[in-house]
Symmetry: C2
Subunit: 155 residues, 2 copies
DNA sequence: AGTCCTGCGCAATGAGCTTGCGAAGCATCC
DNA sequence: GGATGCTTCGCAAGCTCATTGCGCAGGACT
């Protein structure tokens, strides 16, 4: 069950993280295999869940989702009930791209995507702060994206 | 130059954000077109930069990158020189998946991925706090991921 | 040395991609 | 009001690529 990753597997993963739609023959050439064992390895990586899925990455600015906001959230209380309800609420909002429960300064970190600052404040007022679990919200608003990578480091 | 998105284009984008490797014939069926005009639309979306790229999404836990940390960074000063050097430094670290320059409470927000908390503190001590621009760092450490979506809302 | 096991390359078949072409819908302009 | 030009569709042909089964080589264990 635990699939070991040899250098060729890591090479495959590195290439697929850069180009998820590369043809199998090109991928095979890149990693120094013939097409069939290369495809077999990819299938194994998929079945093992190491490759979770393939997605198209859109340009946020060009589809009316130009603004990213990081919202740090504090809960009213810290019980399981509260986090569960918060999770359910958050899952329904497509604007919330990521949601993490944290320990330390705040209780949750959200990455929220909207068209502009106007839409964001509307979302926060109308939806985010109305979730019963939420005590308060603090935002960090990026003015510029310096780096946005999708490639996990593979040792 | 400004490419307009009709409902079919948005439908295509929605599907490709969910499955970036769907075959063109299946995609065409899904959106109610024949394969050729469907492929043509996809090509146009790619050339317009609306589709930026296709990537394989890996399971972080299974490739030794199980820990995500949000680091908020404060700079020593606020000039262009400092941000430029910070950007260059950050770009070289594969652990830094995202980096945003922010306004408000802190100066930058980073999403950093490492194997575990140990590796993170080592990274912060050895690399992050040694960037000359950096005055201080505060971290928010997720204990649990409630949501990790790659699908931008498309109206 | 013999056997088992794992992983590679090769070849054939079938599916999907890609391009050119003709037709239909629609707006514009005499 | 009808003709013209533009856009975008569907169809068909050629070609690349994915997929599967099979034989073979190299290493481990007996």
């Amino acid at each position: 069950m635990p699939v070991i990753l040899d250098p060729i597997d890591r090479h495959i993963l590195r290439v697929l993280q850069r180009d998820g739609r590369i043809s199998n023959v090109d991928l095979a050439k890149e990693v120094g295999l013939s097409p069939s064992p290369c495809l077999r390895r990819v299938r194994l990586l998929e079945e093992a869940g190491i490759i979770d899925r393939y997605v198209a990455v859109l340009d946020p600015a060009k589809v009316g989702a130009g603004l990213t906001v990081f919202a740090r959230v504090w809960f009213k209380t810290q019980d399981a009930e509260v986090t569960l309800r918060f999770a359910e609420a958050v899952r329904r909002f497509p604007e919330v791209m990521e949601c993490y429960l944290t320990t330390g300064e705040c209780d949750a970190v959200l990455r929220i995507v909207t068209a502009d600052l106007h839409s964001y404040w509307r979302f926060q007022a109308d939806h985010l702060t109305r979730i019963p679990s939420v005590l308060s919200v603090k935002t960090d608003v990026p003015m510029e994206t310096l780096k946005r990578s999708f490639e996990l480091p593979l040792g």
